[in-house]
Symmetry: C2
Subunit: 342 residues, 2 copies
């Protein structure tokens, strides 16, 4: 005398597509089509399906969908680190857009390592994601091959890819660094050091931008290049500042490859009693919130990372839906933020 004799013993208690179809008096296939918004469904039937969905509180089962269609509702997002606020902003913006479109984000941290990135892609592709968002353009060939083998939509973030590449949203790291260097030159600085840590691709592009601007002004000197492969941190910035100021040809400005290092430098300057910007100007990159409050406040480059995340997600969603992209490579620009330190 059960009310639903057709339910199996393993039933989960949730309404299924079959329940919806029964209530709407259509076949499961028509219900399935109406649900996914396929155009080829009679409006009257589609309405009955939607009424039934509401009445039953029906929610499609993602696992069943994934198994039948061989595509899950996941999107893989790979970033180098969560310790750098830059990537947190990027990730949150991307995830917000993806979530609003009904996709779940599978987040992976690569630790700036193309090998780890490859491993993460391999692991995550087992879940047959609908798309992939990657940071930068330094993927291994195996990474690209695996993504291509599944014909997976993929968008890269943070850099401007050449037209040959797939899709990208970013800005010119080279140009941004060159612009900051020109600003320092215009302020009368002549011996401008460039201090780089981590030495990932984007950092090296900033180094290149500094080089070009210095060379164009006839001021390039290899002794002004400071590189440290260690991860960026306030502590490292402090150490690099001391090191650079203690070194031979004196500098009148230091352009750090990111704000974290610059914060450490400003703190070291305070401890050492070295006046910024009088004796040495300091500049950073990214414009973290704290940079408006340091002593002195920090001159830096404002990068559109949240916008990059949002636009990259939107571009990926368009590609997942099979829409044509009018602009597969988006340059979102940057902005110089001149404050007290320069």
């Amino acid at each position: 005398m059960s009310r639903e004799p057709s339910r199996s013993l393993r039933a989960t208690g949730r309404a299924t597509l079959a329940d919806v179809a029964r209530l709407a008096e259509v076949s499961p296939m028509t219900a399935s089509r109406a649900l996914r918004g396929e155009r080829s469904v009679d409006p009257a039937l589609a309405q009955r399906v939607h009424d039934a969905v509401l009445k039953l509180g029906y929610q499609p089962d993602p696992a069943a969908r994934a198994l039948a269609s061989r595509r899950s509702s996941h999107v893989v997002v790979l970033i180098p680190s969560l310790t750098n606020l830059l990537f947190v902003d990027l990730l949150e913006a991307a995830q917000d857009s993806l979530r609003a479109a009904g996709f779940q984000t599978l987040i992976g941290i690569t630790h700036y390592d193309a090998g780890e990135e490859e491993q993460l892609v391999r692991e995550h592709l087992l879940h047959r994601p609908a798309g992939v968002l990657l940071t930068g353009l330094e993927q291994t060939r195996a990474t690209r091959r695996e993504i291509a083998a599944q014909s997976l939509p993929c968008v890269t973030m943070m850099e401007n890819a050449s037209a040959a590449e797939d899709c990208s949203v970013g800005f010119s790291q080279v140009e941004a660094a060159a612009a900051m260097t020109r600003h320092l030159l215009q302020r009368g600085r002549r011996r401008i050091a460039f201090a780089a840590a981590q030495l990932d691709a984007r950092t090296l592009q900033r180094l290149e931008g500094w080089r070009r601007a210095m060379a164009a002004a006839g001021r390039h000197d290899a002794r002004l290049e400071w590189r440290d492969a260690a991860a960026s941190s306030v502590g490292l910035g402090a150490r690099m500042f001391e090191q650079i100021l203690a070194a031979k040809p004196p500098v009148d400005a230091i352009f750090f490859c990111n704000d974290d290092l610059a914060h450490g430098a400003l703190l070291a300057a305070l401890r050492l009693g070295i006046e910024v910007p009088q004796r040495v100007a300091v500049a950073g990159f990214n414009d973290l919130p704290e940079s408006a409050y340091t002593v002195p406040t920090l001159t830096t480059v404002r990068t559109p990372r949240a916008e990059v995340g949002r636009r990259a997600a939107e571009m990926l969603l368009a590609r997942i839906r099979g829409q044509a992209l009018e602009t597969p490579h988006l340059d979102l620009g940057f902005e110089l933020v001149v404050r007290e330190s320069s």
Copy 2:
């Protein structure tokens, strides 16, 4: 003349359990059991299955598994924010442990809002996760009900739950704040303000710890309590510092509910020319990396957030495997870090 006539047209090219079973000359069921390490399989057969797995490079399909077993290999991890490094450390440690055990993390940001948390739980439970990791103990009744309805293993992080609760890994926020307050009292400070932002549950527990220690010393004064519901930031810390120093009964110490606020306070002190700790001591909470480099370096409480994330993940994994927990409530303690600012 196809080499694999049994393959359907929709085949994905990946080896399936059926392929493994065929090669190992066992039934798919035995292959399935061997794969999951069930004990009830003849060792010789299990060996043949594992050989076949290696030979075919077989990887189980997570969607098929989830559909058949009604449990996915996802674990939901909900944290209030990624902007606070505290939660980044927590998340990364948890995710590392979960990933090593073969689980994928589904991350949700609650923005310190129990309603958003409820919505995230609801969304994520559609994926039938294997377990849930939550921050704090302030879940709505609906959140708890939904988790209980699926009999989902769940571990809460960062606070010590009462024995009545499910499972928890954390430390006493009250005791940690009281310990810091006692330290300041021992250093001879008498009018110790407490400055709180965000006003989430853990912040209020720290406020309570400060209250108890002040009351125990006969020094409690409600005018020393400063609360601002805005999100913590360096800028807010700077503003609160100025506000507190400009207010009526002068203070000789300020205990900020976290390091971010304290960093802002130290920067404001530098700008205003107020000597720390001579005129006013400053303390924070969490011990962010930067706190060892501020001017002056910051006295703070070191919290074991990475350890909390790791142990919470391990506890959850044990519960997912149905193992009994010897200690369902883990207190990981804290550590006072006394530096120049106090």
